[in-house]
Amino acid sequence: AAGVIQSPRHLIKEKRETATLKCYPIPRHDTVYWYQQGPGQDPQFLISFYEKMQSDKGSIPDRFSAQQFSDYHSELNMSSLELGDSALYFCASSLGLAGEDYEQYFGPGTRLTVT
């Protein structure tokens, strides 16, 4: 079965550079969530989208922006990168809005290292 695809899997950037992370949800899934997970930490919710509209926002820095496109894939844009942005970034997709209580399918994650 098709899973959530994230690219790239690994990314190394320098401070103050920009990064773009991509997420391709499972076919027919219309909801995407972005999470940030530091080493030994729990996933922290960043932002979510339903049907190409932002549905909720968490602890996402103003330097970050995201959107969901017409084909339901999503991109997380990160600018002015800081050392503290180094983390594993997960995208998860689900069928329907969270209010309808569907499980989230997580992608393999993008490991971002800022030097």
């Binding site: 969530y33 729990d42 996933p43 909720d56």
Partner: protein
């Protein structure tokens, strides 16, 4: 604020022993999901609980949602080495479209 606490942070058990992790929220949750994350892997969905007092079982795993929908637990009977990983609960509050993850319980099973 909206926060989900989880205990214990770590648990080492001998293979065959039971294991329980607990999640607690200060305010009522709409629903709660449980995930397992293996070392180096991504969270994998286990179960979702929606109703007050709900109990669900999956083979050796038993999940409970408290009557007040503020706490939940995951109990594993007779642990196996394949149960190793970090178990997270993730709660959603009414009127929101995001899941707040608990701090996780890292389970180590000694053969």
């Amino acid at each position: 604020g909206q926060q989900v606490m989880q205990i214990p942070q770590y648990q080492h058990v001998q293979e065959g022993e039971d294991f329980t992790t607990y999640c607690n929220s200060s305010t009522t949750l709409s629903n709660i999901q449980w995930y397992k994350q293996r070392p180096g892997g991504h969270p994998v969905f286990l179960i979702q609980l929606v109703k007050s007092g709900e109990v669900k079982k999956q083979k050796r795993l038993t999940f409970q949602f408290g009557e007040a929908k503020k706490n939940s637990s995951l109990h594993i009977t007779a642990t196996q080495t394949t149960d190793v990983g970090t178990y997270f609960c993730a709660g959603r509050y009414s009127g929101t479209y995001k899941y707040i993850f608990g701090t996780g319980t890292r389970l180590k099973v000694l053969a």
